[in-house]
Point group: C2
Chain length 349, copies 2
Amino acid sequence: MFKSYNIVCMKQDKEVTIYDIADYLNISAATVSRGLKDHPTINKKTKKKILEAAQKLGYRSNAFASNLRTKQSKTIGVIVPRLNSYFMSTVIAGIESIANEEGYQLIISQSQEDEQKEAANAITLFNSRVDGIMVSLAANTKTTDHFKPFLEKNIPIVYFDRVVETPDSLTISIDNYKAAFEVTQHLIDKGCKRILHLGGNVNRNVYADRLAGYKAALKQAGLPTPDNLVFFSNLSEDAGVEAANYINNLKQKPDAVFSANDTCAAYCMIRLKQLGYKIPGNFLFAGFNNDPISKVVEPNLTTIAYPGYPMGQIAATHLINHLKGIADISSTNSVLLRHELIVRASTQK
Amino acid sequence: MFKSYNIVCMKQDKEVTIYDIADYLNISAATVSRGLKDHPTINKKTKKKILEAAQKLGYRSNAFASNLRTKQSKTIGVIVPRLNSYFMSTVIAGIESIANEEGYQLIISQSQEDEQKEAANAITLFNSRVDGIMVSLAANTKTTDHFKPFLEKNIPIVYFDRVVETPDSLTISIDNYKAAFEVTQHLIDKGCKRILHLGGNVNRNVYADRLAGYKAALKQAGLPTPDNLVFFSNLSEDAGVEAANYINNLKQKPDAVFSANDTCAAYCMIRLKQLGYKIPGNFLFAGFNNDPISKVVEPNLTTIAYPGYPMGQIAATHLINHLKGIADISSTNSVLLRHELIVRASTQK
DNA sequence: TTAAAAAATGCAACCGATTGCAAAATATTT
DNA sequence: AAATATTTTGCAATCGGTTGCATTTTTTAA
């Protein structure tokens, strides 16, 4: 009794397949398959009939069957340190816009800034047979061995923002060295002689390059770079507060602060103001990222703007073009996007 | 020549299947299949052999074949208005954390606040046979007809934050009415008599409820609610500036502003300060969301905090439990999360 | 009108994992 | 040692779309 009822239910739920369409039109499934994907050898009239029948019967194609047969998933994997930062979510929005347009799905995962989790996510993506991956590395990632399986299977990898130069994969970023140099030079031009840098994990190119650019600018200006003028942290809000306390305790105070991100800069400024300092009176301040808070914090923060949304779009476009065979990723090694120094009140004496 | 070379290449790339493992161990593929998924009827020793062989041969399971056969994708679709807002990316981070833990993949798409695109995304997700979807509605979405196909196929839907009450699906949100009431009451308690509201699209529950809560509080206090004390917009940065200009042009100025989000509140404040007003001197200010900028803008903004990350986790947990058959979604109608009034300097006279 | 060329369609074997049911192997009980 | 019960394993069909090659149909040329 129940069984037969169930069967009826199943029948109702039953998916329409190309075989159903074939039966309905008295043609073969092969023709239907070809007709649905606009194969050139199928007669236009037949195509039209097929499309109409598909519509009428409520057909939807089964990607699993197709993927199984064709061995491609039309899916791109994305690994980022964190989703919920303004910059990252903007990049991902850019990626999504292109992927969506091109009929690719996105599988997004977070490494939470942890190499272990990054590796685990990589395995998951590998096992779900993504056609390609896009990666922004975790802060503590030392090796990229966990991406080897992809390379071995010729699954393309695009690194963005937090990149690592490798012969086989494309990197998309800005010239962090140059940008940091420009920021530092800007502070020097304003007459600063003791510029403190709030640095991130130098494992990552973005922070290493910013540090290097900062040092290079100082060196070129003939300014010393004592160790106690660089304060390393994870650049969080709390780190900004700590940095402020650190500065407060320095015997010889800096006259400017260049932070490797805006969040840390903003919270450092806020804390310093609490401690009675004036900005830009006592310290000029510059950040990096052009985060929304940079134009809300007081004084508005001088910073480096660089385009997250386009970065995502460019990364996705390169990857998809490679997948489509239009352009080969390995022909290009890296793409550098433009950045821009945005001067605001925090560096106006 | 080339052909045979190609074949060799293919062979190398060839994926290891359960059949290869079966051949290798001289057992059947059925046993391997069962062994790999810890089926109870398989001998432990056999299991061990299978696992070892799988390891050694570099086997990875083919989800397409499995999905094709089992007719489930282990994938959840997500549709949000925008990825790159602090709140949304935080919710998604929460969703991801649970999905990842439970072995589900996420497919994320953006409606860009547009009903058409929302519908298109829905179709895409439907065709990729997600096991369930999680939706936060676009601002201009009028009907939820585009989700009907899911309901017809018994694919569960969870709405979060920007929800719509329906008999068949679960909604997860906060009590926006009550929260807005509390904010308004707080302003009234501070002695405000003319409180202006910056409202969003009342199509969406979040903005309609916030407006209603605001009005209810005024009414209860016996205060009038003239139409010109509500300024509707998309609550963007620009809208905040416009709102400030609007206020500046009002003959009878308000003594407080309650904005339906923090972004709009912050930019409204900034613009008003530019125009020479003092905050909280001339106007008390309150926002909604506890966005990062709310504690950076000066004065720090009184606002409503509500938990994005947990909201994502809860939404994902409910959906997955439903999919696993542990709990039925339709038994619960809606889940309300706790919110909290955070009083900051912008409402301290 | 017939032969040849071109266009359209069909056959059937995949892709790889799953699972109901039957069969074989092993364990337990008389 | 035979009979029964219990574990393990295997057979074979299935999921639905794809595609090389063969076949049929239609068009063009002779």
